[in-house]
Point group: C2
Chain length 425, copies 2
């Protein structure tokens, strides 16, 4: 596949990403910083989709839009079986408010650039290649993220997705109709041979290691718990220390227990276990009143289910101990629970081999955040590749990936797609 | 003084407290619960003041109103030196919104009932007796409390007090003019021989001990500190445990350290030391974001300056350790600092002797909250007596002191006033 490399055109890729960056561009004071606000259903989002559709057609792909606005373009190479399950690649075009220009578009346009390079290099392939852009990955405007990939893989119904509303009460169904992207086609990952997503890392593991590409081993599982600790609000002056049932001193021990459990679990399992009490709300929250009630939001993740269960169990044990030792009443509601998603061994191996072909260093690493590949993995083999993020900034106009790094990661993606689309490779 | 007891009329006292309770009465669902909202400068407040002025005049006292609305009525007993420094007693008539009916009025009308009993018993006294009601003790409407006693003792200027505004922008000066209580007289505690205040306990020490009256040893000192802990907000999934600077896990240790310091100080000094982190505000306060910043409000009290300094010092040490061990940045602002106020030995002894005369049990105890007696103690000898609070409820329509307990505490107050107003007693 070495011959393919010369055909990946970094300038063509850059032009597509910069064109997309112009739709909803944020005016930043820093000339080196480039942000964009591309909310699903906005005029900027329509223009980004129109631009993609044109580029796909221009490259000879047949374009389909499904009822939740997922856009897919399929190319059937000369000599390939048009009925064979295609290899798909892509990401998303929407952004958080004032987000970065690479988060999403890099994966969509790297997939298209890979197809163009495969066309130009006239590589023999056995399977079609599909370039895909999923709707509302971020969940910044409708729902809680991964909306398009959830519907495509059957995790959410079209009706439920259409009924999601933005802060102004506009439904996703209406929004898609208004911008002309409530389609009638089908985007179905269960019919794909596999899926490869290239995304910016949003962390500094690659930068620190000096590696050009990361091959994700697993997208960690995620548990969110809501915790309440109820004590007794009382006068801070008139209540002796041993007459108190202070909800905050109890909650403070809980915060420490969650941290300790995550550190110990990561250590004992040699895993990526993390445990965070990200939110804590105190009532009545007045300096001279003993706190009567605390609500806390807990985020627990790991690449193994065992790691998550260990931290969850330590959190529950902590609350039971606080009820016993401090007389507080507690509740624990595990309201979100997503299992760890291992990426496909076959496609990870194809990506590592492609990196070796490109003579760039690749490293294996877990993903921190969720991505569309997590949902697609429920339906077919999926892989997730990372390009370096300078300084690890994410969801910010400080997000940046050097153009040379974008091109290098796209070369690796193209090689991996070619391998996956070649039977017996 | 035993002959005095028969003349303290519990029904007359109750009638005055109930009449005052009717001004701003709160309609509670519970027939046994009685609340009132008596904000300084309101129509209810004017009526409560008018009622007091009438009762004072009816009992033959000469009434004075000073520029901040403090009301004082002075009685010169037959045979007493009209030029001698009077013994004063009283409390306040204002309340917090939906407060109780005894907090304040008990002290004012117990003082008046003591005078009436002394008159009826024809006890020989050497000094005049002054009944006083201080303006805006609660600070629920204007300023931060103890307004009238602060001005009377010179801790605050009349002008500064007049300039205090309520939530609607009305100044205290205007409010007093409107209700007819911006007077031209003088209420000056530095000219008093001593001051005795009877108040409800707002705690359960008396109830638990089965004592009829509490003799306060000291009004504790009070320190308020604002603390900030700054770490680094980061993605809860993508940031490994050892890469974090979590402001909340650091603040949680601080909460525990303050609690521990207060418990140890109270134990080692055998004092009433208390330390409370009453408020804690987390930013950005989202479940999936590592907390970047925490603000905390700390309340530290004790009857000795040493106890307060020990807890303050432990809190500072805790922050220094957290900066060292956890890499957070912290600030510590001690923005309120009131020294402990010991009550007068002479008047405490008079109160204990009066209780013995009444054959009721009295106990010594520190006060939890601040009262006008705290300010008056800067100008003259002051004592603070407590009547039992059922269940310790305070600033609530659940506040209650049995009428028999009100009468018994008033008998003790009358005895103590008589002793203080008798030279060489």
């Amino acid at each position: 596949m070495r011959e393919l490399l010369a055909f990946v055109d970094g300038d063509r890729l850059r032009a597509d990403i910069e064109a997309t960056a112009a739709f909803g561009a944020v005016d930043t004071a820093d000339p080196d910083a480039r942000g964009r606000t591309n909310r699903t259903g906005s005029a900027a989002n329509r223009r980004a989709r129109d631009y993609l559709s044109e580029r796909l057609r221009e490259a000879g792909l047949s374009v389909t839009v499904d009822p939740v606005g997922n856009v897919a373009g399929t190319w059937v190479p000369d000599g390939a079986d048009p009925e064979a399950a295609p290899v798909a690649s892509g990401s998303h075009l929407d952004s958080v408010p004032e987000g970065g220009i690479f988060d999403g578009p890099l994966g969509v346009y790297a997939a298209l650039e890979a197809v163009r390079a495969l066309q130009d290099a006239e590589v023999d392939l056995d399977r079609p290649v599909t370039v895909v852009s999923f709707t509302e990955e971020e969940g910044a405007t409708f729902g809680d993220g991964l909306v398009g990939s959830s519907v495509a893989t059957g995790a959410r119904s079209v009706e439920a997705a259409h009924a999601l509303t933005d802060d102004d009460g506009r439904s996703l169904g209406e929004a898609l109709s208004e911008i002309g992207y409530r389609g009638e086609g089908t985007v179905d990952p269960s019919g794909w041979d596999g899926f490869l997503e290239l995304h910016v890392e949003q962390n500094t593991v690659l930068e620190t290691a000096g590696a050009a590409v990361g091959v994700v081993t697993t997208i960690p599982g995620l548990t969110h718990c809501s915790v309440t600790v109820a004590g007794e609000a009382d006068h801070a002056g008139a209540t002796a220390m041993d007459d108190r049932t202070d909800a905050l001193t109890a909650a403070a021990e809980f915060v420490g227990d969650v941290e300790r459990a995550a550190v110990e679990t990561a250590d004992e399992l040699d895993s990526a276990a993390v445990g965070t009490v990200g939110s804590l709300t105190v009532s009545p929250n007045a300096t001279n009143v003993i706190p009567g009630r605390v609500r806390a939001g807990v985020d627990i993740r790991d690449v193994t289910a065992e790691g998550i269960e260990r931290v969850v169990s330590a959190a529950r044990d902590s609350l039971a101990r606080l009820e016993r030792d401090r007389g507080v009443q507690t509740t624990f509601d595990r309201h979100l629970d997503v299992a760890p998603t291992p990426m496909s061994d076959r496609l990870r191996e194809a990506a590592r081999a492609a990196a070796a072909d490109c003579t760039v260093e690749s490293i294996d690493l877990p993903s921190g955040a969720g991505h569309d590949a997590m949902r697609v993995a429920d339906a077919t083999d999926a892989a997730l590749l990372f390009a370096p993020s300078r300084g690890g900034y994410s969801h910010s106009h400080k997000e940046w990936t050097d153009w040379a790094d974008c091109a290098r990661a796209t070369e690796v993606l193209a090689g991996a797609i070619a391998a996956a689309a070649t039977d017996g490779s």
